[in-house]
């Protein structure tokens, strides 16, 4: 089963999304800020990262940039999640290296579609 790394500082978001993903059969690990997210992604064996963009320590864009710059994590698909929903957010996320982008509130079916699409590509 695919392993998802959820990088999210908001406790309720983490709790809710992780439980919903687990229900759908995924294995979910969680990081609470950008730095922890980068560290875990480097050391762990994850299939995909769900990255919140507004994060303490290192924000989502920077974390993504670092992961995409490092050879060992370059191929790890990253979906950016943001509640800001600004017009330029999507471009900014893709520019930073994200493979896809979604807004909160999460439409679970849509997100699952994006996850599956990226997992299908990488396998």
């Amino acid at each position: 089963m695919a392993k998802i790394l959820l990088v999210e500082d908001n406790e309720m978001n983490r709790d809710m999304l992780s439980r919903r993903l687990i229900r759908k059969g995924y294995e979910v690990a969680m990081a609470v800020d950008g730095r922890e997210g980068v560290d875990m992604a480097r050391s762990g064996d994850y299939d995909i990262v769900l990255m919140d963009m507004s994060l303490p320590e290192i924000d989502g864009w920077e974390a993504t940039r670092r992961l995409k710059q490092a050879a060992e994590t370059k191929a790890l698909p990253i979906i950016a999640l943001t509640a800001h929903a600004m017009a330029g957010d999507r471009d900014k996320a893709l520019e930073a290296g994200c493979d896809d982008y979604d807004t909160k509130p999460i439409d679970l079916q849509r997100l699952l579609g994006k996850i599956e699409a990226l997992l299908g590509q990488s396998t």
Binding site: M12, N13, R23, D59, D89, P105
Partner: protein
Amino acid sequence: MTDPSTAHAPAPDPISGLRHDLRTPVNHILGYAEMLLEDAEEPTHAERRRALRETVRAARDVLGLIKTALPASRDDIAPEEIGSLYDSLREPQGKILSTMRDLLTSDGGDAAFREDIQRIIKAAERLAKPDAAVTSTAAAAEVAKATEAGSTDRGAAHVLVVDDDEDNREVLRRRLERNGYQVGCAEDGSRALEMLTEQAYDLVLLDVMMPQLDGYQVLERMKGTPATRDIPVIMISALDDVSSVVRCIERGAEDYLPKPFDPILLRARISASLEKKRLRDQEVQHLERVAQIIEAAKRMEAGSYRPGTLADLGARDDELGQLARVFDGMAQQVRAREDQLRDRIRDLRSEIEAARTTPADAETAVNGGNLSTGEAFAERYEVVSLIGRGGMGSVYRARDRELLEDVAVKTLLPQLVADETVIERFKQEIRLARRISHRNVVRTHDFGQWGGVYYLTMEYVEGITVRALIDSRGQLGVPSTLAIGMQLAEALSVAHEQGVIHRDIKPQNLLLDPEGVLKVMDFGVARLAKRQSAITEVGLVVGTPAYMSPEQLLAETVDARSDLYATGVVLYECLTGRIPFEASSPVTLIAKLLHEEPTPPAEVNRDIPPALSSLLVRLLAKKPEDRVQSAADLMQRLREIA
């Protein structure tokens, strides 16, 4: 990044932060609700499914509103718009809160389920709590400003929560404290009533269903006690107990709150009640201040107002303050005038005192009259003594058997009242005269006829006439004359205002009581003296023409200024001891009166101030239009001289 305690970079700009702050709780609500819906598959979960679907629908409504107000393309927003966006969210938010709270009460789900519902509630609460939930963004300050405006007054309002359920008390206490209120809690009705006597509360939240003393009874006692009657009471009740709520509102409860509590409703109703109370308190205070002014006016009328009493009120910036200042200023003037008069009266009193000790006391020298001492005139007035006789009749001091006080009874000469029309006209005049109520006017009581004798009853004044005073003293000093003049002018100004002209002002009609208070007698009585022309009837005419104005002598139109002429003669006589025109016969007197100029009093007596002298000359002008024009004006001029 909704946790304000976590340090992180600020949002790019206010609108982005606002989007984030609103979308995050919607995300939670939708996420948990959808997840719980997936679990609610049992047939027994119908109610749960309905509630969760409702919540999902409401959360999508919220999202729709956010998207409309804050489209992705938008990068600027005005504070008012933020305010109205939050306002628009209230309805769906309220829906989510009430649906989820109801579910918590009605659904016996397990702890995990309840915890998730609590999470939904918590998230929903954030949709309208910019002050607590989004402090990290620049928008938060704007939002707080926009939504909190006008609610600053609630400050340290004291709220008493009365509920037998500990959880309810706790929830309310915490919520109210978070909103900045001071909260007291009572676990039953008796304790609540006790606490209300210990401290002043601005508002009471009262549970309806309580053991022993229930909410209705507590309310009844509160409304029956003056000290607690005006404290607003909001009833707390389950929604299914509408009839009790109605009963409570009929009994004076301000409002009610359904259980479980909706924080928005709670806040709105509490601040509305407190605002109403604040306005009511303001109104009560205003009325108290008005009452203070009315009280001052009453005291003023009774002569017991002390200038300066309204100083506190006068310091106010509003209309009442202005009224108080004007009132107090006028009171001070009146007081100053009275002080001035009192000084003059002191001199007058000593002259009166001196006159009474001389053997030629006018009052004792009266003989004759038709009534005899001890006679019960008109079966009511017991004659004590004859105190005066004049051209119109006799005046007796008598004891009123009905009222047990002394009155003056004046009998009128039969020839004066022979004619019905004369009597009618006289009655009319007396009716007018009776309207004058002033300390310088002898009160007229009644007019009647007994045994063929027409009579008037009046206030009895123990004192002497100015006639007797002048006769005894020869002449009066300037201060005494001014005291007489000021009081006479005041009496005349009051009478003239009522349309009553005296027509016969002369020293015999002016009484002075031992305190120096002047009383003018016989208002309207002179009307009886029917004269086509006084000159032809001089022999018959009442009294002497010495005090009559030229227009009166010529039977021309008589008005208020004729009384002022007579006043001039009286004051002239007071100062100089003689009347302006003297002659051996009435005919010569009248000729002089009509054609000669009086000698200015200052030329007779050098001690008389020139201003006073020329004022008297003006009063004695032949033509009314050349005189001082009103008694009030005369009063003012005399005051200036004093």
